[in-house]
């Protein structure tokens, strides 16, 4: 097995599930990518990285779970999972064989806001890869047998995920943090909601949501701007823009009422997850909040890591994070501890949240957080896949390709006072919902 054990290397499903792609992104001087709008409305982003002969492509279209009808949770997820399962030209297995024969990958999946198609190929296979990508985007057939198959698979995956405490906590917390909001429903749906989905639902959803004027295509790697434009236009240029405006939603702004919820499982350790609403990236509070979160629970020098893990030995994993998305944002704190110590850890987390509101952080803590958030930026962009994810997300969130520079500048300006101000707004412990998964009496 690929067995390994590490100090802090932990696959925190909860972090991945709640964290936005951007989390916190800092700065470079050069523009991140070339940007242009194709005649049918596709926003094309290209970043040339000639050194390694590979190409990463990300296509985002506004067909995320946020658009699931209320009684059809999981529809976007099912649609994404079916996209590569058959096109006008090829069956699903034929698509798998074609891309894997050249050692590439083509994956489609829906998240909260978007449906993403991700292609990675060697440069020599760029043309084949784009043929496959454009087929799955333009002519998916959603074969009935594949729908049946995928529904059963998703239901089983949901069942299995119920044995993962992090997933259970994340799902419950999302529901509490986002009442009446689509983000409160699981992207994958429930076993019951998925059972209700039909091929017809999928076909209609995709036809309504996936459209060129709500699509971003990022091409990154050993290609030139001209080549990318030519190849993308040749394949996706015929994608017709509908005459009506793209669907948009205005999620309800129901305020969150703090709740506590316990999910009982036979486990030796309990998972605690605190959460509440926060601010999205375009809002001014986002920058000081990122700094405040880093001081509280961002890295292995944070207050929570120091107190809960290093000084008390109560947890292996203890973190806080901001999770921004297009239609809402959350702030969360999570820890896993032996069940007997749950009350102690809850108190510690609440005390540390409160301390952030009552006392200014030290200049040293502030400086470290800012230096880390700004200085770690190059590592968010050190592979073609990461660059493609990053620029596509920036475009999708409407942040502008100068966001990296702006982020650096805004983080750099955050003061001790700003941190305390956002902490006062967002960290009062009584404003959080709390989910506990474990052997709780």
């Amino acid at each position: 097995m690929n067995a390994r054990a590490g100090r802090t290397r932990i696959a925190l499903a909860a972090v991945v599930a709640l964290a936005g792609v951007l989390g916190s992104g800092p700065a470079v001087a050069a523009p991140l990518a070339h940007r242009e709008v194709l005649p049918n409305g596709i926003v094309l982003l290209v970043a040339e990285r000639p050194a390694v002969p590979i190409v990463a492509v990300r296509l985002l279209t506004r067909a995320g779970a946020v658009f699931d009808p209320e009684d059809r949770a999981g529809l976007a997820n099912l649609t994404g999972a079916l996209l590569t399962r058959g096109t006008a030209k090829r069956t699903g297995p034929e698509i798998d064989s074609a891309i894997e024969f050249v050692g590439g990958s083509l994956e489609a999946a829906a998240g909260r806001d978007n449906l993403t198609v991700a292609l990675s190929v060697q440069k020599k296979d760029f043309s084949l890869g784009l043929d496959l990508l454009s087929e799955v985007v333009l002519s998916p057939t959603f074969p009935a047998a594949e729908v049946t198959r995928k529904v059963a698979e998703i239901q089983a995956a949901i069942q299995r995920s119920n044995e993962d405490p992090g997933t259970l906590a994340t799902r419950a917390l999302s529901r509490l943090v986002y009442p009446s909001h689509p983000y409160g429903r699981p992207v994958e749906g429930t076993r019951e909601s998925v059972a209700r989905l039909t091929r017809d639902d999928v076909v209609k959803f995709y036809a309504r949501q996936a459209r060129p004027d709500a699509t971003v295509v990022a091409v990154v790697g050993a290609v030139t701007v001209d080549e990318a434009r030519r190849e993308i236009t040749a394949r996706l240029g015929s994608w017709a823009r509908p005459s009506d405006p793209p669907p948009s939603i205005t999620p309800p702004t129901v305020a969150m009422t703090p709740h506590e919820e316990t999910i009982k499982r036979e486990l030796t350790q309990s998972t605690l997850m605190f959460g509440r609403r926060a601010v999205r990236q375009p809002e001014p509070d986002y920058f000081p909040l990122s700094v405040a979160s880093y001081v509280l629970g961002g890295g292995s020098t944070s207050r929570l890591y120091t107190r809960v893990r290093e000084e008390s030995g109560l947890a292996y994993a203890v973190y806080s994070w901001v999770s921004p998305a297009r239609y809402g944002a959350a702030f969360a704190v999570s820890a896993q501890t032996r069940t007997a110590e749950v009350p102690k850890v809850v108190v510690m987390i609440r005390e540390e949240l409160t301390r952030m509101t009552r006392e200014p952080v030290s200049e040293r803590e502030l400086a470290l957080a800012k230096q880390y958030l700004i200085g770690s930026f190059p590592f968010r962009l050190d592979t073609s896949s990461k660059v493609a994810d990053f620029v596509a997300a920036i475009e999708d969130q409407g942040l502008g390709l100068d966001y990296a520079d702006r982020y650096k500048e805004r983080i750099g300006r955050v003061t001790v006072r700003d941190v305390q101000d956002v902490a006062t707004k967002y960290f009062p412990p009584a404003s959080f919902s709390l989910v506990t998964v474990g052997e709780i009496k």
Binding site: V52, G92, E100, E163, T306, G313
Partner: protein
Amino acid sequence: VRIVVALLSIVLLLAASAAPAADRVVASTLDNGLRVLLLEDHRSPIVSFQVWYRVGSRDEHRGATGIAHFLEHLMFKGTPAHGPKQFARLVEENGGQDNAFTSQDVTSYFVDIAAPKIDLVIELEADRMQNLLLDPKEINAEREVVIEERRTRTEDDPSGFLGEEVGSIAFRAHPYGSPIIGWMEDIKRITPAEIRAFYKTYYVPNNAIVVAVGDFRAPAVLEKIQKTFGRIPRAQTPPPVLAVEPTQNGERRVLVKKEAELPVVYMAWHVPNHQSNDAPALEVLSTILSGGRASRLYRDLVYQRQLALEAGGDYSYFALDPNLFWFWATPMPGQTPETLEAELAKHMERLKTEPVTDEELARAKNQIESAFVFQEDSVHRRAALLARLELIGGYAQKDSFMTKIRAVTAADLTRVAGAWFAPERRSVGVLLPKPR
């Protein structure tokens, strides 16, 4: 965990052990025995600096399992020059990312950081190779953290729990049978004195590889390494691992009942490692069985017949000693572990008698080769691959690895399947969900 992703990553990991571009590697061995590999890569202003110690759970003894991993945690607890927390603080305030992992064979530490900061990292790493505090108070606090880590990874994770059980019945003599994180009883018992002795024995320059890839000038970095690591005296060669696992003479089984939603089946066979001429064929065989959605196990068990939610396999080509070839499957609701066990066995039997198709063979080779190309994109992965190759005999073996892979024939696969996958050489584990 989505199995396709897991399988692809295994392919990447294996292939990562043999990338090209080693021609520009500056390799040297210092007088104290420290092996140094430096590769300039000027695409981004970053560097990955890694120290790999040739020590892992295979070097542990009964009663002290988990000590290598425990020590890994303590490597972040300070030296007289850089107190507790200083390491993480210095790295973070320079925008860097540091972490470490312990495997059966090695303990690896890495810092990915802005290139101008490489001197700072060199100083920190050289300092903690020799001067770790190992304060008993810190050790006891960290013990609780390791125990929590074990709860997360093993006690409360059905697959992790079963995997540990199967590993432990598969090996009778070789330490590969004990978990990397250690048995709970051992983690609780290990003393500061034992940890100190372990550190003194294995964390010595003649038992380590330093590798850096990134935006630097190799001669300058080598000079800095000589001035820091170079001052650490050579020590006695650490004791070799003498245990050789005897041939398994009958199937072994373990049945675990645990709160879970779906059963899990594991099957593990003793197979040779990279030192064997059969290793390249086993690597290709592993890819044919479980490399992606066109692979046999996925296409048959997950896709066509929907018997499994997940199914896959894994082979450790680069293990220092002969290890296991793993298979696993999670039955779909309504399917039994017995069915999946039989189906996995059938796939293995089929490989013994029926040659794979040309397409399957070509696809597997292309996947392995392509994974090489992809990992060249990251300085971190380039560095890790040089270290992995060095561990098994030399960073320059990259070319020969791919040559051996390309030479594998369908007849080779039939032969190795027949040679290694006898029913009496397997260990089987089944996890049955206990109702909540």
